[in-house]
């Protein structure tokens, strides 16, 4: 994350190490805190109406005041996002796996999937609403659809990345293609899979929110839109805070999984 090329710290070696670690932890926190303070100052001192620029304190008040309602609205959003994501994972891995067994299948289908990728996927959202109906079916369909592509593409890349000499070794041991897939290709593809999962969960959340913007009667996206209509910007930001926390928690969980996989692979 930090710059690769840099000067050595000015202090001695051991003292320098501790100083470095402290810097890396403190600086970003200090910066973020400074930003929040600046925001609060501008909002309060600048005299902006709460509609335009609620202060962080206002957002906090709204968050605490309507916490129950926000959480209630978060449930359908989160539930359908995660279900769609899980479905997309299963489908993505299965289809990618199928591609490794038949080269013709891969040559025929993979380019088509890449082409479908070109359309910005939220543009499909109204279509999915027409097909699946408002509410949970639409959310589920969109989350699955959006999350599928990054997972599929990542899995294909991962399965192909398997070391050729490993595959050759397995062939010399007369392993069947199925066993080669399970014991070698699948473990080899895990880092790629997790990279794809991270992208997928981020996109799935976006897709569901957009669906709720367009037409829904529940969910965080709906709540945000309703708050906008009521000119309760503080409530909008409070709902967004909860959305962010939830989204980051999911992302963080996947990241932890990725680290565990890397450790297992002995990297």
């Amino acid at each position: 994350m930090a710059l690769a090329a840099e000067t050595t710290p000015e202090v001695g070696p051991t003292a320098g190490m501790g100083f470095e670690r402290l810097r890396t932890a403190v600086l970003p926190v200090a910066f973020a805190a400074a930003l929040l303070a600046l925001w609060e100052a501008i909002a309060v001192l600048g005299g902006y109406p709460k509609v335009i620029l609620p202060a962080p304190s206002d957002v906090l008040a709204a968050l605490l005041g309507d916490f129950g309602e926000i959480c209630r609205q978060a449930v359908p959003t989160l539930r359908d996002t995660l279900t769609g994501f899980a479905l997309a994972t299963v489908l993505g891995i299965a289809l990618a796996g199928l591609m490794t067994f038949s080269r013709l299948l891969k040559q025929a289908i993979y380019p088509l999937i890449i082409v479908i990728q070109l359309v910005p996927k939220i543009a499909w959202t109204p279509l999915f609403i027409v097909w699946a109906g408002i509410g949970t079916p639409a959310r589920l369909a969109i989350a699955t659809f959006i999350a599928f592509f990054p997972i599929f593409i990542a899995m294909v890349a991962g399965l192909e990345s398997t070391d050729g000499s490993l595959v050759r070794l397995c062939r010399s041991l007369t392993a069947t293609p199925w066993r080669i897939f399970w014991q070698v290709r699948l473990p080899a593809s895990l880092p790629y899979l997790f990279a794809g999962l991270k992208i997928a969960i981020t996109l799935a959340v976006i897709g569901v929110i957009v669906a709720e913007f367009i037409s829904s009667s529940e969910g965080l996206g709906f709540m945000i839109l309703k708050s906008a209509a009521l000119l309760r910007t503080d409530l909008i930001l409070a709902a967004i805070v909860v959305l962010c926390v939830v989204g980051l928690a999911c992302y963080g969980a996947i990241d932890l999984g990725e680290r565990a996989v890397r450790r297992w692979r002995g990297e």
């Binding site: 000499s165 070794l169 007369t174 066993r179 080669i180 014991q183």
Partner: protein, 258 residues
Amino acid sequence: MIGAGDYVVVDRLAKTFNPGTRQQVEAVATTSFSVKAGEFVSLLGPSGCGKSTLLMMIAGLDAPSQGAINVAGRTMQSPRAETGVMFQDPTLLPWKTAIDNVLFPFEAMGRPARPQAERAAALLDQVGLAGFHHHKPRQLSGGMRQRVAICRTLVFEPDLLLMDEPFSALDAMTRDDMNLVLMRMWEEHHRTAIFVTHSIREAVYLSDRVLVMSQRPGRIIADVAIPFARPRGLEIGETPEFNAICSHLRGKIQQMAH
């Protein structure tokens, strides 16, 4: 397991890559030779002469353009479960420990690995890796990884060993060590073995016979018997007889350069 007579018969084998296109390459020209059961034979030749291609065909990992290969009385068409192949790259699974890597062939063949765990452990101890059973490949040096690979190749008791320059990527001192390790392991069961190398000394030290291959398109141009008794220590490398044979082989190889 050990019988008299030929174990591997290579009959007028030839291999051309990309036939009929502009990238056509004749890797192996019509070649015939045979290996008796229990013999250790080296294929010696310069880089690119097709010796690895020849070995891959004997392993069943590549199909010949012409001719046939016979192993233990059966024509080779696809990889054989009873053949053990060692490559230049140790090719260990990075997520498995050393001992799990040794047990991998059983998984690959769909046989239960648990009963073999003791044998795997014993093999690792034999090559000097006691205490490293549960290390992952990234914690092992290149030489250690190749030793794990040797154990993996021997654990399922193959009746034919095929080795494609397994020590070429190692430094000279480790290479000598590995030759010794291989010799000790081999001398236990005298499995039929074909060993590909471009090192003359290595070929002479390890083998009963050395087959010299010409430059591409490769064919066997010499078949030299190595008269040293077994077991062989590394010190025979200093004897005048050893150096004489090496010179003889070097002469054969240099003859081709014209």
